[in-house]
């Protein structure tokens, strides 16, 4: 028998939020969390992302395991509470019993299922947990092409979108006469429908599902009006049912949920309830913001210091479908309404006023000022002129908001806290502020506002690395998610769908990398998005000619290769032949039109000396020749270079392998360096010897060359997936933190997934110099044919004269 202080039953967002709130108030009180699911709390709000990405739930983890350990929170993962005796303050987890001082029920909810025959068929799934996502993906992979989603509410639409993004025909079947009827009025719902249909989601309204058809597997649906549709997979998402069985058996008072008072106390002594399992003043909340509010109040009450009781929450929801901006706050309809609508855009903005106060808002397509209206509605602001108030919200920037205005509704972070994180907290970038306050780390929709606030608070002086490009006010992560979820495979699609919808020369190359990385190099290449070096696979020089550096794995070459290089250098009138710092031979001053021919004559693969890619693995002679050598550095360097050849990276990667700690290959100042030591190999990362000089951090020491290749490749893939464009490893490593990178790269499961993605990307790589025979375009390397203007009357400039003065 163990006697912890506070026991939290549940492992979802509510349980997590409660633990966070308790620890903010009291660092000492013993705290135990019983997670029924086989994992620590994760951000279920973003569940639909797993559908699109296929990643495991650990990517949505709210906190890493160390967080709990560091704060003395005991976690019992995969353990279900089986019985509760509130009188004796005893909780059973199967065979084991706990005595507690105080108990919090945060058991969440189960999916609500309609009472129709056929629910038991294979291919009928709820949409509630990561397992459901996996099963849906597996069904799609094994050929399910037509999917029906029962339920056209928030979660149903998110599920439908996630499935449609995988290329299935999805039909949403909804009982009501409009989508999201709880959050939207008929006009907004009517605008949402074609938006969803554009994303590949068909919508059937006013259809009551009578039964699911099929023998063993689901084959379709029949509606009450007799109509039938075919479906290989049926996903049910019509709502939630509070999980209250433990409470019921223990004799607690329940309605739909476990009944709680304004301090979130249940009818039983020393027992509280928060989240989707709790019913407060007749309301059960299924949204994340109220859960945080409840958890905050419950934590104060648990510790006997509740000063502000819970009085209910404003209902607030955002649809998490890529490319659809939709926010609904409070009542969607009321006595007095101001509406601005543009059916063509489409955009819809509405403010609902009840009894002279702001009571609700809907914003579809144009969510400017949503924080402002959220504050107004939450505070019951008096509104005499709804039309003027709605228009004023358009102009409101985050600078105008009061400190109490909530910016991050997922994690309940106010503007004041963000500003304080910069001022008193000393944070200089939006990333640091997000890590400290957790603002922007939930659904991510407020990241833009956080970045803007940090810019204002820092005086805008700090260069903001969070946006991929100022033209789109979107982070790399957000853009990657758009690409992934909408299945984009070309830069022009991303440019058209995000931000201003226009091309921007500053970020095209960054988008080109992102599109290729997300699509594992199976993207549609648009050369116009690439820098000239990547259009012609050579490095442009100050006179407009190019340099040619053939691949020499590990810096090793042969007499035959050298002969061909020498001949080519003469044949093409190369201005200089130079040995580079990365142990390569550089032919400088090659004309663009000569590139295909010189590559053909040299007959070696591209050395990628022009690209943001793995450039060189420099080696010393090592054990093969050197009397001090401990390891076979040449063989390892060659193997590494072959493994990484042709794979593009966010910024260039220079590598080196030294055969002993004398380090003749300068591995300690390489992006990724390897040094042979007694009994193994030391892998280093983040070194630099350019404008920045930085000694590489020791990442890991392993025994065999095979282990080096594996760990270093996983590390390289982690960098490929997580670094900003042009961010070298020596900046990336300190920004992310060595520990965080180790957690990802050294975890067997995550490492295996990273390695698999690397191999998939690598499998689609070809030597770009083969374009000498199969060019991207007939004039890839050439100018246009010269023309004669003799026959024309005149050639006149219409722009400014060469002195450059504009008229």
């Amino acid at each position: 028998m163990r006697i912890p202080g506070i026991v939290v039953v549940g492992g979802g967002i509510a349980a997590q939020s409660l633990c966070e709130s308790v620890r903010e108030l009291d660092a000492e009180v013993p705290l135990t969390m019983v997670c029924g699911e086989p994992r620590l709390p994760y951000d279920r709000v973003r569940l639909s992302e797993l559908l699109a990405s296929g990643e495991g739930p650990e990517t949505l983890a709210l906190r890493p395991p160390e967080w709990y350990a560091d704060r003395g929170i005991e976690t019992l993962v995969g353990r279900r509470a089986t019985a509760l005796d509130p009188e004796r303050r005893r909780l059973d987890l199967g065979d084991e019993s706990f005595e507690y001082e105080r108990l919090v029920l945060a058991t969440g909810s189960d999916p609500l299922l309609p009472p129709v025959p056929g629910l038991e068929l294979a291919g009928v799934l709820p949409f509630r947990g990561p397992e459901d996502c996996e099963e849906i993906r597996a069904a799609v992979d094994s050929g399910a092409a037509r999917v029906a989603v029962i339920g056209g509410g928030l979660l149903g639409l998110e599920a439908a979108y996630g499935i449609a993004a995988q290329g299935c025909a999805v039909t949403v079947v909804h009982l009501m006469d409009r989508l999201m009827e709880r959050q939207l009025d008929p006009a907004a719902a009517a605008l949402l429908r074609p938006v969803m249909e554009d994303l590949g989601v068909e919508v059937l309204l006013e259809r009551q599902t009578e039964c699911i058809l099929g023998g063993e597997r689901a084959e379709g649906l029949r509606f009450a009006d007799g109509q039938e549709i075919e479906a290989d997979l049926v996903v049910v998402s019509i709502g939630i049912r509070p999980q209250i069985s433990l409470a019921v058996e223990a004799g607690l008072e329940v309605g739909r949920g476990i009944q709680v008072d304004d301090e979130m106390r249940t009818s039983a002594p020393s027992a509280w309830a928060v989240g989707e399992c709790a019913e407060h003043r007749g309301m059960v909340y299924g949204l994340v913001a109220p859960i945080h509010e409840q958890a905050t109040v419950a934590a104060t009450s648990l510790l006997d210091r509740c000063e502000r009781p819970y009085e209910g929450s404003l209902q607030w929801a955002k649809l998490k479908v890529m490319g659809v901006d939709l926010v609904s706050i409070g009542s969607p309809q009321g006595a007095q309404e101001a509406v601005a609508a543009d059916a063509a855009a489409p955009a819809y903005r509405k403010l609902v006023v009840a009894e002279g106060r702001a009571a609700g808002a809907i914003m579809l397509g144009d969510t400017r000022g949503s924080e402002d209206l959220l504050g107004a509605i939450a505070g019951g602001e008096e509104v005499t002129d709804p039309v003027a108030r709605l228009a004023a919200a358009l102009e409101a920037t985050v600078a105008d908001l009061p400190d109490s205005a909530q910016i991050c509704n997922c994690n309940g972070v106010c503007k004041g806290e963000i500003v304080a994180a910069v001022g008193e907290g000393g944070c200089g970038t939006a990333r640091e502020v997000m890590a400290r306050t957790r603002a922007g780390t939930g659904c991510g929709s407020c990241k833009g506002a956080v970045v803007e606030l940090v810019q204002i608070a820092t005086g805008g002086a700090v260069e903001e690395p969070s946006y991929l490009c100022p033209c789109r006010a979107q982070t790399r992560e957000q853009l990657a998610a758009v690409i992934r979820e909408r299945g984009f495979d070309a830069v022009s699609q991303v440019a058209g769908a995000c931000g201003t919808g226009r091309e921007c020369g500053q970020c095209k190359p960054a988008l080109a990398y992102l599109v290729s990385e997300v699509n594992a190099n199976r993207h549609r290449e648009e050369r116009g998005a690439r820098f000239i070096n990547d259009r012609v696979h050579a490095n442009i020089q100050n006179d407009g000619t190019f340099s040619v550096v053939p691949r020499m794995y590990g810096g090793v070459t042969t007499p035959d290769e050298l002969r061909r290089i020498a001949d080519a250098a003469e044949r093409y009138d190369v201005r200089m032949v130079k040995v580079t710092g990365g142990q390569r031979i550089d032919l400088l001053g090659v004309r663009k039109e000569d590139l295909p021919a010189i590559w053909r004559d040299i007959g070696m693969p591209s050395g990628h000396a022009y690209a943001k890619a793995v450039r060189t693995v420099k080696t010393c002679v090592g054990k093969d020749f050197c009397r001090f050598g401990l390891g076979e550095s040449i063989a390892l360097g060659v193997a590494l270079e072959r493994e990484w050849e042709g794979v593009y990276t966010p910024a260039k990667v220079k590598s080196g392998v030294s055969g002993c700690p004398r380090n003749c290959a300068e591995a300690t100042v390489k992006d990724i360096g390897v040094v042979a030591v007694e009994g193994g190999w030391q892998i280093r990362v983040g070194g630099a010897a350019g404008a920045t000089v930085r000694e590489a951090d020791v990442f890991e020491t392993v025994e065999t060359p095979e282990q080096v290749i594996r760990v270093a490749t996983v590390l390289l893939q982690y960098y490929r997936e997580n670094a900003d464009y042009k961010e070298r490893l020596y900046d990336f490593v300190p920004r992310i933190g060595l520990d965080e990178i180790r957690r990802a790269v050294l975890d067997p499961e995550r490492a295996a997934a990273l390695l698999e993605r690397f191999r998939i990307a690598k499998a689609a790589v070809a030597d770009p110099w083969l374009e000498r025979d199969e060019p991207y375009h007939p004039r890839q390397f050439g100018d246009l044919d010269e023309v004669s203007g003799a026959a024309a009357p005149a050639l006149a400039p219409v722009g400014p004269p060469p002195d450059g003065e504009l008229p």
Binding site: G528, G544, D783, V787, A796, L806
Partner: protein
């Protein structure tokens, strides 16, 4: 009008160098239409046809000087503006519109400076 090339001679979203009687021009095929400017950057003579083209602008490949293709105006820097030329796309071909000076023969104008690309 002088025929410069067929539409397909320039890949979408790129520029190409074209010589008119030996004088180089940079020709651009953008999402906003066709544009032509002087061949080299006023900054340090970078080959503008090798620049990144986006919307209605070009970025020089050497030092990232950014110019508006329609007006030739420098964007966010102090370089001189580019000379620009009028183009017309017709029947799948691209023409330089050269009749703006009327019927007068093309006086060897000092306004037309065509620095050689990549002088050796």
């Amino acid at each position: 009008m002088i025929r410069l090339c067929a539409v397909d001679d320039v890949p979408a979203g790129e520029g190409r160098l074209v010589r008119v009687d030996g004088r180089p021009l940079a020709l651009f095929r953008t999402t906003a239409g066709w544009f032509a400017t002087q061949a080299t950057c006023p900054h340090l003579e970078g080959p503008l046809a090798d620049g990144i083209v986006a919307d209605r602008s070009v970025i020089c490949p050497l030092h990232e000087r950014h110019f508006d293709l329609a007006s030739g105006a420098p964007l966010g820097h102090e370089c001189a503006a580019l000379q620009t030329y009028s183009l017309r796309e017709e029947g799948g071909e691209v023409f330089l519109v050269g009749d703006l000076l009327g019927d007068k023969p093309p006086a060897p104008s000092e306004n037309l400076a065509f620095p050689e690309l990549n002088p050796r």
